[in-house]
Symmetry: C2
Subunit: 108 residues, 2 copies
């Protein structure tokens, strides 16, 4: 039941650190918290918290192996974003079509 609600998504991606983490996961694939912390520019607890937010937004999955946790991206989660932008463009376009219709009718 992946909600088509883009709210959590936008909120999760609004933070640059968080977006950076997600971006690294997309670029480099599955990573442990330790690997992600190196180069994140913030402390390990901060990274863990960010990963928690990303997970809640459905943007990452986690896999536990021994004492370490591996995170990987879930690109399907971006779908509501794509849908939303498409919808906005659709509204606009349909208004334009309506205008065309109107002008066409006025033309007669």
């Amino acid at each position: 039941m992946s909600p088509t609600n883009p709210d959590l998504l936008f909120r999760a991606l609004a933070d640059p650190t968080r977006r950076g983490l997600f971006e690294r996961l997309c670029r480099e694939g599955e990573q442990t918290v330790g690997a992600l912390t190196a180069g994140a520019g913030v402390s390990q607890p901060a990274v863990s918290k960010h990963l928690g937010v990303l997970k809640q937004a459905g943007l990452v999955r986690d896999r536990h192996q021994g004492r370490q946790t591996h995170y990987s991206p879930r690109l399907e989660a971006l779908r509501p974003l794509v849908d939303w932008t498409g919808e906005m463009e659709g509204f606009w376009k349909s208004r334009f079509d309506d205008l065309e219709d109107l002008l066409r009718r006025m033309d007669q």
Copy 2:
């Protein structure tokens, strides 16, 4: 000089009230501040501030006419968003291609 930096964009769209305003502009086209305030659920100054944020993110333009200000959406501003999601998917896909290459080479 619409920056390909999705940061302002994500931040601007992270707030539901703001996203609602932008959505209405896309659906219904150009609107005055007064019209937008009606149905926004927040005060007029709040609406003005939100419109300021949207404007700074390039998502709306304003047009002054007498004592009222008309706002309209700028859909081109969504482009960095679309580009960014595409990039994320691209990274992922290219990593997958690399894996395919690797397997193909290992196969020989």
